[in-house]
Every structure is written in structure tokens, then in C-alpha cells.
């Protein structure tokens, strides 16, 4: 069995990639990343003045004020990282929400289950393939933008590359939610809705200190705090992502640990449920 495991994992991952390519999920995200890289490559022009100052022009419209090059690049890096973290995450979740339940639909999952594979192996391979797919796109975009700016300005802020693990980490947590909902309901729509709801709720729940003052009773404050601590901290991890990209020290890593715990619990629940389900 152990001799068989590695190739079978590769076969399952390859199939997810194949499906993503044929369903245009991969090409769609790849095209968006490429468009963004090309935008910075051709349309945004940065003229470096005396090695330290720069003027910036977009579609030929020049920003007259000369700026510090390193600061300018860092600002653009952070804007790209924020855009990727917010918009890219929505797109990635949307794409994964179609890929994840597809393998579990009736008539298809029975065939998979009839093979000499363990159930957790099938689900984890699918999860890993989805994660790998998104990581490749994130890596492509971040490295592409980093290379374009490095080449144009000579400024190579390595801290920008932190956006790759930070964004991939949060996606891994949200993908666990997609996986659990997919196993439970086999519905791409429900998986998308629940995951998006968590993303949207996160900045609201993050205001727990303010809400503690506004809420009238102690139990409602406890409920609010309970939700904040239990659910993934999309908003807070986004803040950590920005700190890392901007080269600032991270003051509180707790959102990472609690989100990791949430992701592990949810993924374990998905594996447990998949193990027990009848198809």
C-alpha cells in the first residue's frame, strides 16, 4: 500500500489540475495574474531620477512630484498584496468551490471509492491539489510583479515575497471550510456562500473591543468574543500580511495561531465526515 501511495497521490493531484485547466478555472486566474503583471510591465512607467527619486506615469500621464523610489515600490507592493489578499482570495474561493464538490458528486465519487484507496487520501489529495493550484498562481503573480519592479527600479524588497505564504495560508484555512461544506452538502453554491460570509464577517467581528463598549449585556459581549476567537481571522491576518510586506514588525501573531487551529479542526471534521458518509 505504501508503495502505491505516492503515485496515486500524484494521479489525484494531476486530475484536479486537469479539471481546473479544462474548466478554465486555471486559465482564468492565470490570465488575470498575467494581465496584472503586463499592466505593471508596459503601462506603468517609473522614471528613476538620480538613483533615489522617481516619477511615475500611467498611460503617459506623469505624476510630477518626485518620490522616494524605495518608498514608492513598497507602496505599490503593499497595494498589490492587499489586492491579491482581498480580490484574489474571493476568486480563489469561488474557483475552488466548483472544483471541490465536483469530485464528490454522485455517480463519480462511487467510482473513486471503489478503488483501493483510503477515503482520507482521496479528500486530502483533492484539497492539496486545490491549494497547490492557487499557490502557483499567487507565486506567479507576486514573483512576476516583484521582478518587474526590481527590473524597472533596481529596488528588490524581499519582504514583498511574504505575501505568498501569508495569502496561501489564509486560502488554506478558507479551503478547509469549502471542503467541509462540499463534503456535507456537495453544493458549490453553499460552499461559496458560507466561506464568503466568513470573509465578510471577519472585519466586523474584529471590532470586538469597540463592540464590548457598545453591547449592553455581558453575554452578548461573550458571544461576540466567542465568534471572533473561534472563526478564521481573515481581516487580522490581512493586517499581518501588510505588516510583513511593508517590512514592519508584527505585534500579534495570535490570529495566525487561532486561524491555524480553526483550519485544522474544520479540515479534520471534513475528513471525519467523508470517512463516515454513505454514497
Amino acid at each position: 500500500m505504501s508503495r502505491l501511495r505516492l503515485p496515486v497521490t500524484v494521479v489525484l493531484i494531476r486530475d484536479t489540475f486537469h479539471e481546473a485547466i479544462v474548466r478554465w478555472v486555471f486559465w482564468g486566474t492565470f490570465a488575470l495574474c498575467t494581465a496584472l503583471i503586463l499592466f505593471f510591465l508596459f503601462l506603468l512607467r517609473i522614471d528613476v531620477v538620480e538613483g533615489a527619486k522617481a516619477t511615475i506615469s500611467l498611460f503617459g500621464q506623469k505624476e510630477s512630484k518626485a518620490m522616494d523610489v524605495a518608498k514608492l515600490v513598497r507602496q505599490i507592493h503593499s497595494a498589490v498584496a492587499a489586492f491579491l489578499y482581498m480580490m484574489g482570495m474571493f476568486l480563489a474561493v469561488f474557483a475552488s468551490a466548483t472544483l471541490m464538490p465536483a469530485a464528490l458528486e454522485r455517480g463519480r465519487v462511487e467510482l473513486l471509492l471503489s478503488k483501493p484507496l483510503r477515503r482520507w487520501h482521496i479528500l486530502l489529495a483533492r484539497y492539496s491539489a486545490n491549494l497547490l493550484l492557487v499557490m502557483l498562481n499567487i507565486g506567479y503573480l507576486i514573483l512576476g510583479v516583484w521582478a518587474v519592479f526590481g527590473w524597472k527600479t533596481g529596488v528588490w524588497h524581499a519582504s514583498f515575497l511574504y505575501a505568498i505564504p501569508a495569502t496561501a495560508f489564509m486560502f488554506a484555512v478558507l479551503l478547509a471550510v469549502v471542503t467541509l461544506v462540499a463534503v456535507f452538502s456537495e453544493s458549490a453554491a453553499l460552499a461559496t456562500m458560507i466561506t464568503f460570509a466568513m470573509m465578510v464577517m471577519s472585519p466586523i467581528l474584529a471590532q470586538h473591543k469597540l463592540m464590548a463598549k457598545l453591547l449592553s449585556s455581558e453575554w452578548t459581549r461573550q458571544v461576540w468574543r466567542g465568534f471572533y476567537h473561534a472563526l478564521p481571522k481573515f481581516f487580522d491576518v490581512g493586517g499581518i500580511n501588510m505588516d510583513l510586506v511593508m517590512g514592519r514588525a508584527v505585534s500579534n501573531w495570535a490570529p495566525v495561531w487561532t486561524s491555524t487551529a480553526f483550519g485544522l479542526v474544520v479540515l479534520s471534521a471534513a475528513l471525519f465526515l467523508f470517512q463516515k458518509r454513505d454514497y
Binding site: 455517480g107 462511487e110 454513505d278
Partner: protein, 307 residues
């Protein structure tokens, strides 16, 4: 009787529990069956009898509530038990984005076959099921009958010792059905155990040596087809029947099959058997035998499920 059965179940039970347990559904109840290695076994039953649930329990797609099932002596809950099994599910959804060859390759790889063996076997099987020209076409363009034949090829890819087919003739035209039957007959000759779950009684009667009838989740009847059908009707066996006449006769009979060059025809009445006999004589065919049968499998089935 060999020591290790291909399939062995003991008191296999499945209860689908609903929320609050107000309306539990007992899909399969205390089913004990033994399918000998190398036999052809048909599982029959009306809709909702629990046939598909039973098959899915064998393959661990459904977890038994009680009892156990073994495949070649291995507990069916272990992944190893599924290694010698080829499965064609009912209402399967083969991934439409794959090509015929790609699909065969994918599922065979999951069964642990090596790349070179997969390539060779896929070409062989595509030819066997008459889809050699469709190997590079995406499955989304296949007809239902083609998908069914490809599904059968998928089940056979890793040369399984046990073939479990859930409604294998579903959506297949008469020519395709005959082709499937001939393929299965060949597998039987090679010692492969074939387990068919079907509601097409005539098909099962023609192909399977043994049957079990499930009714309301329980085994209502189990036995050898020959013994169960030794009743009303006529079985005519002839040799040297030309294709044109065979097609004509097949349209008139309750069931027909070709075994070892002989054509077996099952007639519900003496008049129809006599008419066929005249036709065969006129064409100069040799009559091997004409035997009265007490009943067809359909009669047995109807009596068993009290319809």
C-alpha cells in the same frame, strides 16, 4: 465449492437513519449470501429492494449498520479488499472533461496499474467495446450507450477477479447488450466472477448461473437459474443459425443468448417455439434440443415478490 468465496456476506444490514430517528429506512436487512469464485451471479429485485445499497456496501461506499461482507476473504471495509474488484456503478457520471483513453488511464492508475500496462490495456479494451475511434474524444460527446460500454471497459482495466456491474445494460441498444453479454461470457470462461445487479430478468436469466432475489431488503430467494426456471415455457437450442435469421428470431423471443456457437432461445409458448422450429428447419439449421421449461425467471420473480 472453493474455500474462499468471491463475495461472502453475513447478516449484512443497512439502516438509513433520519434526524430524530422517526423514519428510519431499513434498506438491507440481514442479508447472508455466498458467491463462489468464478461464478456468474445475478442480484434481482424490484425498485427499492436494496440491491444498489447491498452492492455499495460490498464496495464500502455505504457503511453497513450491522453484519459483515468479505471479498475474497478480506473484510470489505479494508481498501485492500477492493484491489481485485472492477466496478461499474449505476447512473455513473464519468468526468466529461476526460477523453475515453484518459479516463481509462486515470482509473487504472488509481487501481495501481503501471503506465505501460495501462496504455496497452486501454487500447485493447477500447477495441473490445467498439470505441477504438473514440479514444481521443471527450466523454461529454459520448452517448449514454457509449459511456456504458466505456464504463465496462473501465471496470475491466486492471483485469479484476471480481466484476461488479450495477445495471450494465442500462441505456445500451440491443446490439450493445449482446456485445456486453459476449464480453462477460468471455470473462466467465477466464474464471472471472461476475456479479450483476439488474432489473432486466431476461438478461440475467441468459447470463447468470445463480441468482438471488432481494425483496424489501431481505433475501427472498436464492438458487441456480437452471433449477429455478425448470418450468413453463420452451427452450430451443440450435446450431449454424445465420445472422439474418438470428436477428429475426431474437425479435420474437423472451430471451436469447449465444453460447459456444449455439443459439439458445426461450419461448413463452409451444406455438411460438414450433414456428421458430419451422423457420430453422427451412434454413437447414441443426436443432440441438427443444426442452420444455417450467417457468421463466420472470415467473419466478413475480411469484417471489408477490406481484
Amino acid at each position: 465449492m472453493s474455500e474462499t468465496a468471491a463475495v461472502e456476506t453475513h447478516d449484512l444490514t443497512k439502516v438509513y437513519r433520519t434526524l430524530l430517528r422517526r423514519r428510519d429506512v431499513r434498506a438491507v436487512e440481514g442479508v447472508s449470501l455466498r458467491v463462489e469464485a468464478g461464478s456468474t451471479f445475478g442480484l434481482l429485485g424490484p425498485n427499492g429492494a436494496g440491491k444498489t445499497t447491498f452492492v455499495k456496501m460490498l464496495l464500502s461506499a455505504v457503511r453497513p449498520t450491522a453484519g459483515f461482507a468479505r471479498i475474497f476473504g478480506v473484510d470489505c471495509r479494508r481498501s485492500q479488499a477492493r484491489r481485485p474488484v472492477g466496478y461499474l456503478p449505476e447512473n455513473h457520471r464519468l468526468p466529461g472533461y476526460m477523453t475515453g483513453r484518459g479516463m481509462l488511464d486515470y482509473y487504472a492508475a488509481l487501481s495501481g496499474m503501471g503506465a505501460r500496462a495501462r496504455r496497452r490495456r486501454a487500447a485493447e479494451l477500447l477495441a473490445l467495446v467498439g470505441l477504438e475511434k473514440w479514444g481521443s474524444t471527450r466523454l461529454s460527446r459520448y452517448s449514454k450507450g457509449m459511456l456504458q460500454r466505456l464504463g465496462l471497459a473501465q471496470a475491466m482495466m486492471h483485469s479484476p477477479r471480481l466484476l461488479v456491474l450495477d445495471e450494465p445494460s442500462d441505456g445500451v441498444d440491443p446490439v450493445g447488450r449482446r456485445q456486453i453479454r459476449e464480453i462477460l461470457r468471455e470473462l466467465e470462461e477466464r474464471g472471472v466472477t461476475v456479479f450483476i445487479n439488474s432489473h432486466l430478468l431476461a438478461e440475467v436469466e441468459l447470463f447468470c448461473r445463480e441468482v438471488a432475489i432481494l425483496h424489501r431488503g431481505r433475501v427472498a430467494l436464492v438458487g441456480k437459474v437452471k433449477e429455478l426456471t425448470a418450468g413453463k415455457g420452451y427452450r430451443l437450442v440450435a446450431a449454424g443459425v445465420p445472422e439474418r435469421l438470428e436477428a429475426e428470431l431474437r425479435a420474437r423471443v423472451a430471451a436469447a443468448a449465444r453460447r459456444d456457437g449455439l443459439l439458445e432461445l426461450q419461448f413463452p409458448s409451444r406455438e411460438e417455439a414450433n414456428q421458430a422450429l419451422d423457420l430453422l428447419r427451412r434454413e437447414g439449421c441443426e436443432i440441438e434440443s427443444l426442452t420444455p421449461t417450467t417457468s421463466t425467471l420472470e415467473d419466478v420473480f413475480m411469484r417471489t415478490v408477490n406481484v
